[in-house]
């Protein structure tokens, strides 16, 4: 029996562990080392340069554009998405059951699509001549508002953010409305008896009780905002947009590595992105812990 137990455990764990070490752990570990070298892809020709790559990042204007754009995405996309998501989720509570179910089905669908499909679709929507958006604006007489959304530096990043929000709102509507349905009905009734309007009920009852879901949403959307690679790479001109208006860290990293062959430098960008992600997760979790103490 003991013998069989160990043989089973080895058989169950070893294949997955081997894959994990070869394709996941070792690349992550190597990335940290590579970021301290000037490696250009030739075997055995990497010299150690210390933190030079990181110093260079600080003076690389395109990379700084990328960081700025990712920060804008980080500030806007989660907030807007969660705002719309919470609004629609709390409205769903008031709509007839069947209709609400129908809305959930429609809202959720974009979540299932590949970001590639979404990016290609929206590059058609934004097309200055034949796109849905501009021709729609022309049809209702708002010709003045039409523009080449993805080619104008002032609008390209806004257009990208709109796509990210569009594609993720539905998921959070469903997530939040599941959380809202978990709130005991008596609480809403008590609020109503106390004369609380919808607005007050939302702030005083709904929001505090779905806070944990909102926190999870911030982490997920924050990570998505630090990425945004597929949408930018496929949708915007350049890629990287007009004047680097939509450059993101992932884009810089990809180009530096696989177009320019500067693998050491690209790895430094990867490490920077890793620490950004880590900081985000830690901040969100600590914020959450504080809230819980306040509630207790």
């Amino acid at each position: 029996m003991r013998h069989g137990r160990w043989r089973f455990l080895l058989g169950a764990l070893v294949p997955a562990l081997v894959l994990h070490v070869v394709f996941v752990l070792s690349p992550y570990a190597q990335a940290f080392y590579l970021s301290l070298t000037d490696w250009t892809g030739v075997a055995g020709q990497a010299s150690f340069v210390g933190v030079d790559n990181y110093v260079r990042l600080g003076g690389d204007s395109l990379f700084l554009d990328a960081v700025r754009n990712n920060l804008v995405l980080l500030a806007v996309v989660p907030l807007v998405t969660i705002g719309i998501g919470l609004f629609l989720a709390s409205m769903l509570r008031h709509s007839p059951a069947r209709l609400g179910q129908g809305y959930r089905i429609v809202y959720f669908f974009p979540q299932l699509l590949s970001l590639v499909v979404i990016a290609v679709l929206w590059s058609f929507v934004y097309n200055p001549n034949t796109g849905l958006l501009n021709s729609g604006l022309r049809a209702i007489g708002l010709d003045g508002l039409t523009r080449s959304w993805l080619a104008e530096p002032a609008w390209a990043l806004v257009a990208v953010m709109a796509v990210l929000v569009w594609s993720s709102v539905g998921f959070y509507v469903v997530l939040f409305s599941a959380a809202i349905e978990g709130i005991p009905a008596e609480l809403f009734e008590a609020a109503k008896l106390d004369g609380a309007g919808r607005w007050a009920t939302f702030w005083k009852v709904t929001l505090p009780l779905v806070r944990e879901s909102v926190q999870v949403a911030f982490v997920y959307l924050g990570i998505a905002a630090l990425d945004a690679f597929a949408v930018v790479q496929i949708m915007t001109v350049g890629p990287g947009g007009p004047d680097g208006a939509t450059e993101v860290i992932g884009m810089s990293l990809y180009r530096t590595a696989f177009s320019y062959g500067k693998f050491g430098y690209a790895s430094a960008m990867g490490v920077a992105l890793f620490f950004a992600t880590l900081t985000l997760a830690v901040l969100a979790l600590r914020a959450g812990r504080k809230e819980r103490l306040e509630l207790a």
């Binding site: 069989g4 043989r7 089973f8 455990l9 058989g11 997955a16 562990l17 894959l19 994990h20 394709f23 070792s26 690349p27 992550y28 190597q30 990335a31 609004f87 409205m91 769903l92 509570r93 709509s95 609400g100 809305y103 809202y107 669908f109 979540q111 299932l112 699509l113 970001l115 590639v116 499909v117 290609v120 929206w122 058609f124 034949t130 021709s135 569009w166 539905g170 998921f171 997530l175 409305s177 599941a178 959380a179 809403f188 919808r198 944990e212 999870v216 630090l226 990425d227 597929a230 790479q233 990293l253 990809y254 590595a257 693998f263 690209a266 790895s267 990867g270 890793f274 992600t277 997760a281």
Partner: protein, 293 residues
Amino acid sequence: MTLLRERPTLETTTPPARTNRKFPNPLPQLAMFCWAVVTALPLLWAVVSSFKSDKEILNEPWSPPSTLHFENWERAWTAASIGRYFLNSLIVVGGALILTMLLGALVAYALARYEFRGNRVIYYIFVAAMFFPVFLALVPLFFVVQQLGLLGTYPGLILVYTAYAVPFTVFFLHSFFRTLPSEIAEAAFLDGCSHGAVFFRVMLPLARPGLFAVGIFNFLGLWNQYLLPLVLNPDPDRYVLAQGLAALSVSQGYRSDWSGLFAGLTIAMLPVLIAYVAFQRHIRAGMTAGAVK
């Protein structure tokens, strides 16, 4: 992070408290309707456009097709190689999904139901990987795959996809296997079943709901994968669907074939749409439950 005490049952839609019936507020209904239009309109527009001629697409973007141009679909499928990309995706995602589910379930079960030294360490080694951005691994991963001679091959993509999908699968199924009752397994052991037989014949069938939920999640994630094939799969003959579609949409040669591109886009959306229509409630419940775990 177990945030919801119980699984959200999305079916229970009886609103807890009806609003004041004397003053029905039309604004919320309007807002919900508007967002439904904003969501559905671009998708419907793409599907409708895939049946139009190039001329109609250029001149009347909002009007329906005068005749249904099914040849757009045929052209996209054959001339634009969408058919081949589709087949490549099926092979790679199918292989990776089977392997992911098998390895993920084995690891999750072994870690959830057996006590041994290093159990926790192995669990965290897997789960920690979920918190690292794939971009960080990208450069070294390219060279690892290259050195193994797996660049641009089906097995290479399948193994890498599997390696990156296993951590979440383990994380999800680990808690699932913990909740299963142990009496049935003990009875099977008494009947002389081996450890492997208990897993495959007893525990795996019991875990079917969990396997189904994480299987759908993995299918969507793998089917929609873009960054990994972009870097590891440079041969146009082996492009997966997302990769091929992205390449078509930026390649100058197909820039003018609008109807073909719309058809390709619609073909790419179709399998996901069909799966969604068939399993929509399970998919929404499974994916949102996965997020808050």
